[in-house]
Amino acid sequence: MSDLLTRAEPVPTAPFAADGVTISLAPPMARYSLRARQGQALETLLGVKVPKKIGATEGGIACLGPDEWLMRAPAGTSIPMAAGLAIAVTDVSERSICLCVEGPRAAQLIMSGCPQDLELFPVGKATRTIFETVEIILIRNSNDQFHIEVWRSFSSWLWTALTTTASH
């Protein structure tokens, strides 16, 4: 649908590479904030399993809070808006961008500004946290690969912070 207008991204689209770590902008994706008192309600609505434990991820859905899930899916994916139900589905696809940080030094780089103990942060875990003064959502895809979801207007700051530290 965006064949007419082109996207403008807040950080370079070319990856940044330094010793032991690369930082790159993940391609656009669909993001939905899912809110309900119980995960079951969402499973009924979406017909997929959703993680029940805060911090767990399952099939692109991360449980961020007792009644909050973040769904990340291929760009263009649309889901029912749950009209009338005690469920809140909100499209936040463009609220944030995703920085992909990977390499043997990825965890070390993120810990430069994030108080999480990433040596004890299991693969598959997702959480909202903070990098210095900027809020992020941190997802560990593999031992050496993290996704950082950050609101667009903060992302150029985060890009500078990560690339500066990585080059030290």
Binding site: I54, G55, L64, G65, P66, P115, R128, T129, I130, E135
Partner: protein
């Protein structure tokens, strides 16, 4: 930077993920218009501010986003416990 146990995440997290939210268990009246000026002042402004055991609210604002309650010693800054919003005063 204190460590705070979030009763929802069930993890100890760094203080900079949290926002302090004042004294706990001061609930808004169902119908404020029934409150006289002094009751209303007490609700709005009067605080225990104890030297010692303090019931207080925190929000895991850069985490699960939930407000919760805590009992902390204001002299040592050590937490006695944290518990979910809505649970009875500890």
């Amino acid at each position: 930077m204190i460590l705070i146990h979030c009763p929802y995440c069930d993890e100890k997290r760094a203080e900079i993920e949290f926002a302090y939210a004042g004294e706990a268990h001061i609930s808004r009246p169902v119908d404020p218009s029934t409150y006289g000026d002094e009751e209303w002042e007490r609700y709005l402004f009067i605080r225990a501010n104890p030297k010692g055991r303090h019931h207080e609210r925190w929000r895991h604002i850069h985490g699960c986003g939930r407000f919760f309650n805590a009992v902390r010693d204001t002299v040592t800054d050590k937490f006695e416990t944290t518990y979910k919003a809505g649970e009875p005063r500890k």
